[in-house]
Protein backbone atom coordinates (compact mmCIF):
# COMPACT_ATOMS: atom_id res chain seq x y z
CA UNK A 1 0.00 0.00 0.00
CA UNK A 2 2.89 2.34 0.67
CA UNK A 3 4.03 1.78 -2.92
CA UNK A 4 0.76 3.00 -4.45
CA UNK A 5 1.21 6.14 -6.55
CA UNK A 6 -0.51 9.16 -5.04
CA UNK A 7 -3.26 10.79 -7.11
CA UNK A 8 -2.34 14.53 -6.84
CA UNK A 9 -5.90 15.80 -7.30
CA UNK A 10 -7.36 13.38 -4.81
CA UNK A 11 -4.51 13.97 -2.39
CA UNK A 12 -4.83 17.77 -2.60
CA UNK A 13 -8.58 17.73 -2.15
CA UNK A 14 -8.47 15.68 1.02
CA UNK A 15 -5.24 17.06 2.49
CA UNK A 16 -6.84 19.28 5.17
CA UNK A 17 -9.13 16.41 6.14
CA UNK A 18 -6.23 13.97 6.23
CA UNK A 19 -4.06 16.31 8.30
CA UNK A 20 -6.83 16.53 10.85
CA UNK A 21 -7.30 12.75 10.69
CA UNK A 22 -3.59 12.31 11.47
CA UNK A 23 -4.12 14.04 14.80
CA UNK A 24 -6.89 11.58 15.86
CA UNK A 25 -9.24 14.40 16.95
CA UNK A 26 -11.72 12.18 18.76
CA UNK A 27 -9.03 10.88 21.09
CA UNK A 28 -7.61 14.36 21.62
CA UNK A 29 -10.97 15.76 22.71
CA UNK A 30 -10.79 13.69 25.90
CA UNK A 31 -7.12 14.56 26.40
CA UNK A 32 -8.05 18.24 26.25
CA UNK A 33 -10.77 17.81 28.87
CA UNK A 34 -8.18 16.20 31.17
CA UNK A 35 -5.82 19.10 30.49
CA UNK A 36 -8.24 22.01 30.82
CA UNK A 37 -10.34 20.80 33.77
CA UNK A 38 -7.28 20.60 36.07
CA UNK A 39 -6.53 24.21 35.14
CA UNK A 40 -9.79 25.26 36.76
CA UNK A 41 -9.16 22.91 39.67
CA UNK A 42 -5.72 24.47 40.18
CA UNK A 43 -6.83 28.08 40.08
CA UNK A 44 -8.51 30.72 37.95
CA UNK A 45 -6.77 30.68 34.58
CA UNK A 46 -7.28 33.42 32.04
CA UNK A 47 -9.14 32.53 28.86
CA UNK A 48 -5.94 33.22 26.94
CA UNK A 49 -4.00 30.66 29.01
CA UNK A 50 -6.75 28.11 28.51
CA UNK A 51 -6.71 28.76 24.77
CA UNK A 52 -2.92 28.43 24.61
CA UNK A 53 -2.93 25.15 26.54
CA UNK A 54 -5.77 23.86 24.35
CA UNK A 55 -3.99 24.71 21.11
CA UNK A 56 -0.58 23.60 22.39
CA UNK A 57 -2.03 20.42 23.82
CA UNK A 58 -3.88 19.64 20.60
CA UNK A 59 -0.79 20.16 18.47
CA UNK A 60 1.47 18.14 20.77
CA UNK A 61 -0.94 15.21 21.06
CA UNK A 62 -1.79 15.50 17.39
CA UNK A 63 1.86 15.45 16.48
CA UNK A 64 2.39 12.36 18.62
CA UNK A 65 -0.56 10.66 16.95
CA UNK A 66 0.79 11.50 13.51
CA UNK A 67 4.23 10.09 14.34
CA UNK A 68 2.47 7.04 15.76
CA UNK A 69 0.77 6.54 12.39
CA UNK A 70 4.16 6.86 10.67
CA UNK A 71 5.73 4.25 12.95
CA UNK A 72 2.72 1.91 12.81
CA UNK A 73 2.15 2.19 9.06
CA UNK A 74 2.94 -1.50 8.54
CA UNK A 75 0.39 -2.78 11.02
CA UNK A 76 -2.18 -0.11 10.13
CA UNK A 77 -2.30 -1.72 6.71
CA UNK A 78 -3.18 -5.07 8.28
CA UNK A 79 -5.82 -4.04 10.78
CA UNK A 80 -9.38 -3.35 9.60
CA UNK A 81 -9.72 -0.64 12.24
CA UNK A 82 -6.84 1.39 10.78
CA UNK A 83 -6.71 0.45 7.12
CA UNK A 84 -8.35 3.69 5.97
CA UNK A 85 -5.76 5.93 7.59
CA UNK A 86 -3.89 8.34 5.28
CA UNK A 87 -0.72 6.23 4.88
CA UNK A 88 -2.16 2.72 4.32
CA UNK A 89 -4.79 4.14 1.98
CA UNK A 90 -2.08 5.87 -0.08
CA UNK A 91 -3.42 9.40 0.36
CA UNK A 92 -0.24 10.62 2.09
CA UNK A 93 3.36 9.47 2.03
CA UNK A 94 5.08 8.33 5.23
CA UNK A 95 7.58 11.17 5.15
CA UNK A 96 4.80 13.75 4.85
CA UNK A 97 3.12 12.33 7.92
CA UNK A 98 6.36 12.23 9.89
CA UNK A 99 7.20 15.80 8.96
CA UNK A 100 3.73 16.97 9.95
CA UNK A 101 3.93 15.21 13.31
CA UNK A 102 7.34 16.58 14.17
CA UNK A 103 6.38 20.08 13.03
CA UNK A 104 3.29 20.03 15.27
CA UNK A 105 5.34 18.92 18.27
CA UNK A 106 8.09 21.49 17.70
CA UNK A 107 5.60 24.33 17.32
CA UNK A 108 3.60 23.21 20.37
CA UNK A 109 6.74 23.08 22.51
CA UNK A 110 7.78 26.55 21.45
CA UNK A 111 4.30 27.99 21.92
CA UNK A 112 3.82 26.54 25.41
CA UNK A 113 7.33 27.50 26.55
CA UNK A 114 7.04 31.02 25.13
CA UNK A 115 3.51 31.91 26.19
CA UNK A 116 2.61 29.62 29.13
CA UNK A 117 5.64 28.32 31.01
CA UNK A 118 8.62 26.00 30.55
CA UNK A 119 7.30 23.36 32.95
CA UNK A 120 4.07 22.81 31.03
CA UNK A 121 6.02 22.77 27.75
CA UNK A 122 8.45 20.22 29.17
CA UNK A 123 5.66 18.03 30.49
CA UNK A 124 3.81 18.14 27.18
CA UNK A 125 7.01 17.22 25.33
CA UNK A 126 7.65 14.40 27.81
CA UNK A 127 4.20 13.04 26.99
CA UNK A 128 5.06 13.20 23.28
CA UNK A 129 8.34 11.31 23.74
CA UNK A 130 6.67 8.77 26.01
CA UNK A 131 3.95 8.02 23.48
CA UNK A 132 6.26 7.88 20.49
CA UNK A 133 9.27 6.06 21.89
CA UNK A 134 8.15 4.16 25.01
CA UNK A 135 4.69 3.10 23.80
CA UNK A 136 4.69 3.08 20.00
CA UNK A 137 8.30 2.27 19.23
CA UNK A 138 9.04 -0.12 22.10
CA UNK A 139 6.25 -1.57 24.21
CA UNK A 140 3.33 -1.79 21.80
CA UNK A 141 4.84 -4.70 19.88
CA UNK A 142 6.70 -6.39 22.72
CA UNK A 143 4.58 -6.57 25.84
CA UNK A 144 0.96 -6.95 27.00
CA UNK A 145 1.83 -4.20 29.49
CA UNK A 146 2.06 -1.88 26.48
CA UNK A 147 -1.05 0.16 27.23
CA UNK A 148 -0.40 0.10 30.98
CA UNK A 149 3.03 1.71 30.87
CA UNK A 150 2.38 3.43 27.56
CA UNK A 151 -0.82 4.80 29.04
CA UNK A 152 1.30 7.15 31.08
CA UNK A 153 1.59 9.25 27.93
CA UNK A 154 -2.13 9.98 28.15
CA UNK A 155 -1.72 10.91 31.81
CA UNK A 156 0.51 13.92 31.11
CA UNK A 157 -2.28 16.35 30.09
CA UNK A 158 -3.49 16.89 33.70
CA UNK A 159 0.08 17.71 34.69
CA UNK A 160 0.37 20.15 31.78
CA UNK A 161 -2.85 21.90 32.72
CA UNK A 162 -2.01 22.07 36.42
CA UNK A 163 1.52 23.33 35.74
CA UNK A 164 0.20 25.94 33.30
CA UNK A 165 -1.72 27.61 36.14
CA UNK A 166 0.48 27.00 39.19
CA UNK A 167 3.95 26.70 37.66
CA UNK A 168 4.50 23.66 39.82
CA UNK A 169 3.16 20.19 40.63
CA UNK A 170 1.76 18.82 43.87
CA UNK A 171 0.08 15.71 45.24
CA UNK A 172 -3.30 16.61 43.70
CA UNK A 173 -1.69 16.83 40.27
CA UNK A 174 0.06 13.51 40.88
CA UNK A 175 -3.30 12.01 41.83
CA UNK A 176 -4.78 13.23 38.56
CA UNK A 177 -1.85 11.70 36.65
CA UNK A 178 -2.33 8.35 38.34
CA UNK A 179 -6.10 8.45 37.88
CA UNK A 180 -5.63 8.58 34.10
CA UNK A 181 -2.82 6.01 34.32
CA UNK A 182 -4.97 3.46 36.18
CA UNK A 183 -8.04 4.29 34.05
CA UNK A 184 -6.16 3.29 30.89
CA UNK A 185 -6.07 -0.53 31.36
CA UNK A 186 -9.82 -1.12 31.90
CA UNK A 187 -10.56 1.29 29.05
CA UNK A 188 -8.15 -0.11 26.49
CA UNK A 189 -8.46 -3.76 27.47
CA UNK A 190 -12.22 -3.51 26.89
CA UNK A 191 -11.35 -2.49 23.33
CA UNK A 192 -8.62 -5.13 23.07
CA UNK A 193 -11.12 -7.83 24.05
CA UNK A 194 -13.34 -6.71 21.20
CA UNK A 195 -10.59 -6.38 18.59
CA UNK A 196 -8.48 -9.44 19.39
CA UNK A 197 -8.52 -10.81 15.86
CA UNK A 198 -7.35 -7.48 14.43
CA UNK A 199 -4.52 -7.15 16.94
CA UNK A 200 -3.53 -10.77 16.46
CA UNK A 201 -3.36 -10.28 12.70
CA UNK A 202 -0.99 -7.38 13.30
CA UNK A 203 1.01 -9.44 15.84
CA UNK A 204 0.46 -6.84 18.59
CA UNK A 205 0.68 -8.62 21.98
CA UNK A 206 -2.45 -7.16 23.53
CA UNK A 207 -3.45 -8.65 26.87
CA UNK A 208 -6.28 -10.94 25.70
CA UNK A 209 -3.93 -12.59 23.17
CA UNK A 210 -1.15 -13.17 25.73
CA UNK A 211 -3.04 -13.74 28.99
CA UNK A 212 -6.38 -14.93 27.63
CA UNK A 213 -9.76 -13.24 27.90
CA UNK A 214 -10.56 -14.29 31.44
CA UNK A 215 -7.30 -13.09 32.96
CA UNK A 216 -7.60 -9.80 31.10
CA UNK A 217 -11.04 -9.31 32.61
CA UNK A 218 -9.65 -10.04 36.09
CA UNK A 219 -6.89 -7.51 35.53
CA UNK A 220 -9.48 -4.92 34.48
CA UNK A 221 -11.17 -5.40 37.85
CA UNK A 222 -7.97 -4.93 39.87
CA UNK A 223 -6.91 -1.84 37.97
CA UNK A 224 -10.41 -0.41 38.44
CA UNK A 225 -10.11 -1.03 42.20
CA UNK A 226 -6.91 1.01 42.36
CA UNK A 227 -8.47 3.66 40.11
CA UNK A 228 -11.42 4.02 42.49
CA UNK A 229 -9.10 4.45 45.47
CA UNK A 230 -7.13 7.12 43.63
CA UNK A 231 -10.28 9.05 42.73
CA UNK A 232 -11.36 9.15 46.38
CA UNK A 233 -7.93 9.88 47.90
CA UNK A 234 -7.95 13.63 47.13
CA UNK A 235 -11.15 13.98 49.17
CA UNK A 236 -9.29 12.61 52.20
CA UNK A 237 -6.59 15.25 52.09
CA UNK A 238 -9.08 18.00 51.38
CA UNK A 239 -8.45 18.72 47.71
CA UNK A 240 -12.05 18.16 46.72
CA UNK A 241 -15.39 18.31 48.50
CA UNK A 242 -18.89 16.93 48.56
CA UNK A 243 -19.88 17.54 44.95
CA UNK A 244 -16.78 15.75 43.63
CA UNK A 245 -17.17 12.93 46.15
CA UNK A 246 -20.77 12.24 45.17
CA UNK A 247 -19.89 12.42 41.46
CA UNK A 248 -16.92 10.08 41.93
CA UNK A 249 -18.96 7.56 43.90
CA UNK A 250 -21.69 7.37 41.23
CA UNK A 251 -19.25 7.28 38.31
CA UNK A 252 -17.08 4.65 40.01
CA UNK A 253 -20.06 2.45 40.87
CA UNK A 254 -21.16 2.43 37.23
CA UNK A 255 -17.66 1.69 35.98
CA UNK A 256 -17.01 -1.13 38.41
CA UNK A 257 -20.47 -2.50 37.70
CA UNK A 258 -19.70 -2.56 34.01
CA UNK A 259 -16.29 -4.20 34.44
CA UNK A 260 -17.74 -6.86 36.75
CA UNK A 261 -20.58 -7.47 34.30
CA UNK A 262 -18.02 -8.34 31.61
CA UNK A 263 -16.23 -10.75 33.95
CA UNK A 264 -19.38 -12.39 35.29
CA UNK A 265 -20.82 -12.81 31.80
CA UNK A 266 -17.65 -14.58 30.68
CA UNK A 267 -17.62 -16.76 33.81
CA UNK A 268 -21.23 -17.78 33.17
CA UNK A 269 -20.37 -18.47 29.51
CA UNK A 270 -22.79 -15.74 28.47
CA UNK A 271 -22.15 -13.12 25.76
CA UNK A 272 -19.79 -10.43 27.06
CA UNK A 273 -19.31 -8.37 23.88
CA UNK A 274 -22.11 -5.90 24.58
CA UNK A 275 -20.95 -5.31 28.18
CA UNK A 276 -17.37 -4.84 26.94
CA UNK A 277 -18.50 -2.24 24.39
CA UNK A 278 -20.42 -0.50 27.16
CA UNK A 279 -17.32 -0.38 29.38
CA UNK A 280 -15.23 0.99 26.51
CA UNK A 281 -17.69 3.77 25.66
CA UNK A 282 -18.72 4.57 29.22
CA UNK A 283 -15.10 4.83 30.37
CA UNK A 284 -14.65 7.78 27.98
CA UNK A 285 -17.62 9.58 29.53
CA UNK A 286 -16.46 8.54 33.00
CA UNK A 287 -13.10 10.25 32.70
CA UNK A 288 -14.52 13.42 31.20
CA UNK A 289 -17.21 13.75 33.88
CA UNK A 290 -14.78 12.94 36.70
CA UNK A 291 -12.43 15.71 35.65
CA UNK A 292 -15.32 18.12 35.08
CA UNK A 293 -16.50 17.33 38.61
CA UNK A 294 -13.04 18.26 39.91
CA UNK A 295 -13.19 21.64 38.20
CA UNK A 296 -16.76 22.43 39.25
CA UNK A 297 -16.14 21.32 42.84
CA UNK A 298 -13.11 23.58 43.15
CA UNK A 299 -14.95 26.46 41.54
CA UNK A 300 -17.83 26.37 44.01
CA UNK A 301 -15.73 25.83 47.11
CA UNK A 302 -13.00 28.37 46.30
Amino acid sequence: MTGVALDPKKAEASLPRDLIALTKPRIISLLLVTAVAPMYAAGSPSLLTVLLVTIGGYLMAGGANAVNMYLDRDIDDVMARTRLRPIPSGRMSPIQVLAFGVACAVFATWMLAQFVNVLSAGLALAGFYFYVFIYTRWLKRSSPQNIVIGGAAGAFPPLVGWAAVTGTLDVTALCMFLIVFYWTPPHFWALALLKQVDYGRAKVPMAPLVWGERETMHQMVWYTVILIVLTLLPVLFGSFGTLYLLSAVVLNALLMGGVLKVLFAARASKPWIAPAWWVYKYSLLYLALLFLAMAVDRAITR
Binding site: K203, V210, T242
Partner: protein, 83 residues
Protein backbone atom coordinates in the same frame (compact mmCIF):
# COMPACT_ATOMS: atom_id res chain seq x y z
CA UNK B 1 -21.38 29.83 55.28
CA UNK B 2 -23.81 26.95 55.70
CA UNK B 3 -23.54 26.22 51.97
CA UNK B 4 -19.75 26.13 52.14
CA UNK B 5 -19.84 23.71 55.07
CA UNK B 6 -22.12 21.42 53.04
CA UNK B 7 -19.82 21.51 50.05
CA UNK B 8 -16.64 20.78 51.99
CA UNK B 9 -15.95 17.59 53.89
CA UNK B 10 -14.65 17.61 57.42
CA UNK B 11 -13.96 14.27 59.10
CA UNK B 12 -12.51 13.43 62.51
CA UNK B 13 -8.76 12.69 62.34
CA UNK B 14 -9.29 9.10 63.45
CA UNK B 15 -11.69 8.49 60.57
CA UNK B 16 -9.32 10.12 58.09
CA UNK B 17 -6.46 7.95 59.31
CA UNK B 18 -8.56 4.78 59.16
CA UNK B 19 -9.76 5.55 55.63
CA UNK B 20 -6.24 6.38 54.49
CA UNK B 21 -4.75 3.11 55.68
CA UNK B 22 -7.75 1.20 54.32
CA UNK B 23 -6.98 2.75 50.93
CA UNK B 24 -3.36 1.63 51.23
CA UNK B 25 -4.37 -1.93 52.11
CA UNK B 26 -6.86 -2.13 49.24
CA UNK B 27 -4.22 -0.95 46.76
CA UNK B 28 -1.65 -3.41 48.11
CA UNK B 29 -4.10 -6.30 47.71
CA UNK B 30 -5.04 -5.22 44.18
CA UNK B 31 -1.39 -4.82 43.22
CA UNK B 32 -0.59 -8.29 44.56
CA UNK B 33 -3.30 -9.77 42.36
CA UNK B 34 -2.00 -7.78 39.38
CA UNK B 35 1.51 -9.10 39.99
CA UNK B 36 0.29 -12.64 40.56
CA UNK B 37 -1.23 -12.66 37.10
CA UNK B 38 2.22 -12.26 35.56
CA UNK B 39 3.35 -15.50 37.19
CA UNK B 40 0.11 -17.30 36.40
CA UNK B 41 -0.22 -16.40 32.73
CA UNK B 42 3.24 -16.53 31.21
CA UNK B 43 3.94 -20.25 31.60
CA UNK B 44 0.77 -21.17 29.72
CA UNK B 45 1.50 -19.22 26.57
CA UNK B 46 1.13 -21.49 23.55
CA UNK B 47 4.42 -22.01 21.77
CA UNK B 48 2.75 -21.37 18.45
CA UNK B 49 1.45 -17.97 19.51
CA UNK B 50 1.42 -15.43 16.71
CA UNK B 51 2.29 -12.57 18.99
CA UNK B 52 5.66 -11.92 20.65
CA UNK B 53 6.22 -13.78 23.90
CA UNK B 54 7.25 -11.34 26.63
CA UNK B 55 10.08 -12.17 29.01
CA UNK B 56 8.85 -12.79 32.54
CA UNK B 57 11.44 -10.57 34.26
CA UNK B 58 10.55 -7.68 31.97
CA UNK B 59 6.86 -8.18 32.64
CA UNK B 60 7.47 -8.16 36.39
CA UNK B 61 9.42 -4.91 36.03
CA UNK B 62 6.55 -3.28 34.14
CA UNK B 63 4.04 -4.35 36.77
CA UNK B 64 6.21 -3.18 39.67
CA UNK B 65 7.17 0.18 38.12
CA UNK B 66 3.81 1.91 38.65
CA UNK B 67 3.97 0.94 42.34
CA UNK B 68 6.56 3.72 42.66
CA UNK B 69 3.92 6.20 41.57
CA UNK B 70 1.42 4.78 44.05
CA UNK B 71 3.97 4.99 46.88
CA UNK B 72 4.74 8.60 45.98
CA UNK B 73 1.09 9.62 45.93
CA UNK B 74 0.35 7.89 49.22
CA UNK B 75 3.33 9.57 50.89
CA UNK B 76 2.23 12.93 49.52
CA UNK B 77 -1.37 12.29 50.54
CA UNK B 78 -0.36 11.29 54.09
CA UNK B 79 1.61 14.49 54.49
CA UNK B 80 -1.39 16.49 53.30
CA UNK B 81 -3.93 14.80 55.56
CA UNK B 82 -5.72 17.22 57.92
CA UNK B 83 -4.69 15.44 61.15
Amino acid sequence: MAMTSLLTISLPPAVVTALFWSAVVVCVIAQVFILRAVFRTLPILPSSSQVPTPHRLTEILWVVLPVGGLVAVFIGAYRALPL
